[in-house]
Symmetry: D2
Subunit: 288 residues, 4 copies
């Protein structure tokens, strides 16, 4: 049976029985998805808006909010303080009532435990994401479940994941917002240690979001044009060139996209403030 | 036959025959409404989005954008440079394709020519607005024509006009944004010269937007709650107290509303920058 | 001997010996001031900029950053994430290298332990602040120590404290920034429980920042004009009226001041974002 | 004798005798510099802050604000509405009292009249700028006249001019802000018409700001580090790559610089809003 773990703003974790009534205030809970593909239970933090009723009939749009390397499902809720921003934007109407799913694709011991959003030897995370996580959670949380009510965004490795997922599933996402996105990786030197970090780096190289655009044929380009793209990266971020490159590549192919370079670097302050751009962007690209 | 007068960014006015094809770029034209009530032709500036086809079938939401005392229909297009902001916000998706109507309610000789948005002796502008201007232009410009696709906003006297119009017609406007709003006026001294300016001041006192809220009964309050309200006024504006007062009055009655006090005074710089808040506010409160 | 306690972003507290060399990166440490007046050791969090050398000769301007009711010296560093903003603003040049002092004036058990910035029966915090804390810490941290290099700011009760301290010591502070300031309090009902919270409320009423302006004679007004004032409060904050009132009161007396009403309420998200306005404001009002 | 031509916000030009007293309000006047090098009188728009006294002893910092191709000295005052922003930023303290010089380097008939900030056959504008314009106007307008009180900024061709001037005279400017900067130009095809536009393009190629950084030796790099650099360009601007390239080139050489990519294109709306970043940037990099 599913347990709800309520996560207060102070980071104190309290266990409680599942709510029997509509939520009076928004909440972040920790849930799990049992995965056959990965052979494990994957934790997911879930933002539920005020009024959410797990037994109710109201359906919601959904935003997938992905963490970065070294991260897990709790990052956005704890270090990222996403709830502070979400509550304010919903109150002012800049963000619609929405369910936000923050699944775990990582671990802080990145050299010994496999991370990452793509399929890698022995860990088919991308298969899990689309075949198990999405259908399970969208049913569980009353998600409308079409392209026009589904957005994806993330930071660093999660910005790369969001972009590539949207490229391969343009029929699923109305918008994609990449923060400081790890959108490509150079080939690694031959003498690099062949640990789990090597594998995730290799996967980012092989699943380059930039090469995807470069290699897109006319039909693929037409599909990419159905997604709203936003690339946001700090001027002092070591990954800036990736965001700039994909912007120009998309321009070459006639794929409209937004680029912003704000003040800052690869930091939580940057990602926290990015939410003020990213969430209204997702919201206004939903159908009503 | 209606003539379209194209107004370039430089203020140069060129005459042209009516467009026979969808607009390649957005345009501001000057049009007129023949009024029986006022016994004159009232000029109106009209912003048309790219793709607008006067013979086409596509229908648009509408924003009414009102000028202030001393102003006319051209102000927002010339001194206010509204097109610069509108084009950018449409391009970035923060504003939907929309028709923006900027009717004339004034004159710069305010002591000798009657101004103002309310009915005054010998000049029933409010009657004209709702009985002639709205139906004529909404038909002419293919406006959807319901509350959920109609917004109103304006500066100073136009902020007051927007607010009172929305209060008296909450079934017509989904949102109302007042910039530096002239929302009330003190009683004038007995020895004040009884010129046209006296009359418009008196009308603002008698049609006080603040008193309207204060006096609203339960049924009226319920209707006011169906409009999204936004009051925006500079910290150095001599009218600031009016915006603050209506905010607290609405709060007392449980009518949700936004208040912003930004840096600035009663100036075009304030109103120009206000458009960046006001237009997305109107847009996100439209139904799709 | 003074001990330095290093405070990580995660709230983990580590002890370390005093740095023997200039700091390579900025740091927040926890220090204490031994108070004869209060009869206790008062903890203080201290932000030190990169390059700070406790044995060095370089002198710094100082900002006092005050917490609110229920708060303590750690709040700005932990919940407020002030370091994230400070580091970014120093990097971009919007904030000068500065020492930021965050003293403790509170406790979370507000009904049983005395809080507050003013002198109260048995606890002369204001005396402590000016007679002990300021001279001790300004010597310890190489502070320049004049009005033109000293600023004060704070949230809620700390906004009130900042304002009243600046009113009573206009020769000491070049600028004062109040966030959601508790600038005045109504008289309490006679049957209110006479606990510690009662006393702090009474002190805010008696030391009303608004009454101070109202009662200021010409000479006092002249001194108040030598301070740069900034009042910032959310439109949904229950304390908004206090900030609005002092703004109009100061205007009446010809004391220039800034007012901002941004979106939000009495929340850490508001205060965190306020730092982006407050710190550059303090910085540009320092002499070089 | 010098005549002052007052330029109202509406573009109406009024002639008036030189002010005999300190200015009560800020003003933009049109002045001229007689050039021996160019053999002509060069017009210059000048922003003078409130309190400026042409006969007074107070000295001011200076900002050079350069126009773009097709532009002249009046652009910033008329289409750019710079005074609206400057007045507000001075009032809020984000910009110091400053004289802003807007010299003419262009003409709207760019194929037949020589434009541009560099020396070209028959028109040594850069010589004129440094040998005649700067000394003449800095004396006339009581400019402090050292690097620590002099900044330069401009749009498009003027952003390129500002950058190259600062590169060649790092001892003269404390900061440089390029808006949508024309920082380099490709070689032109052999069959391009050899008109005046060809010549200015060639000059931008030959005086490439990007190549300057690339070719800078250690000594030059050390000097470049004494200037604060800011590159700001819209995400939909066809010149974006130039700003991105110089940012990365400067990074490679260890020259700290700011990059911002905001929403927009090569437009006056972009440059008008850029002033809100550029002017405080210049101001905070002045010595007091």
């Amino acid at each position: 049976m599913k347990k709800f773990i309520f996560c207060s703003l102070l980071g104190v974790i309290l266990c409680a029985a599942a709510a029997a009534q509509p939520l009076k205030k928004s909440e972040i809970i920790t849930d799990t998805v049992q995965s056959t593909i990965l052979g494990e239970e994957v934790p997911v933090n879930v933002f539920l808006p005020a009024g959410f009723d797990k037994d109710g009939g109201r359906q919601y749009p959904v935003i997938y909010l992905l963490h970065g390397l070294y991260g897990t499902n709790v990052d956005w809720a704890t270090t990222g303080h996403m709830k502070n921003v979400v509550d304010e934007l919903i109150a002012s109407g800049e963000l619609r009532d929405v369910v936000i799913l923050m699944p775990c694709a990582g671990h802080n011991d990145i050299r010994n435990v496999q991370n990452g959003y793509f399929n890698m030897p022995g860990r088919s995370y991308e298969d899990f994401f689309f075949q198990e996580l999405v259908p399970t959670l969208e049913k569980r949380y009353h998600i409308i479940g079409d392209k026009q009510h589904r957005a994806i965004m993330g930071l660093s490795m999660g910005g790369g994941g969001s972009t590539v997922y949207s490229q391969r599933h343009p029929d699923m996402f109305s918008s994609c917002y990449s923060m400081s996105g790890w959108l490509d990786e150079d080939e690694q030197p031959e003498d690099a240690p062949k640990d789990k970090l090597y594998i995730v780096r290799k996967s980012v190289h092989e699943h380059s979001a930039i090469a995807f655009v470069e290699n897109a044929d006319e039909e693929t380009v037409a599909k990419l044009k159905t997604v709203k793209w936003f690339f946001d990266c700090g001027d002092d971020d070591y990954l800036l060139k990736r965001s700039v490159d994909i912007h120009f590549k998309m321009n070459e192919k006639g794929i409209k996209n937004e680029l912003r370079v704000r003040d800052g670097w690869h930091s939580w302050e940057y990602w926290h403030t990015a939410l003020r751009l990213a969430l209204p962007f997702a919201s206004r690209n939903f159908d009503k």
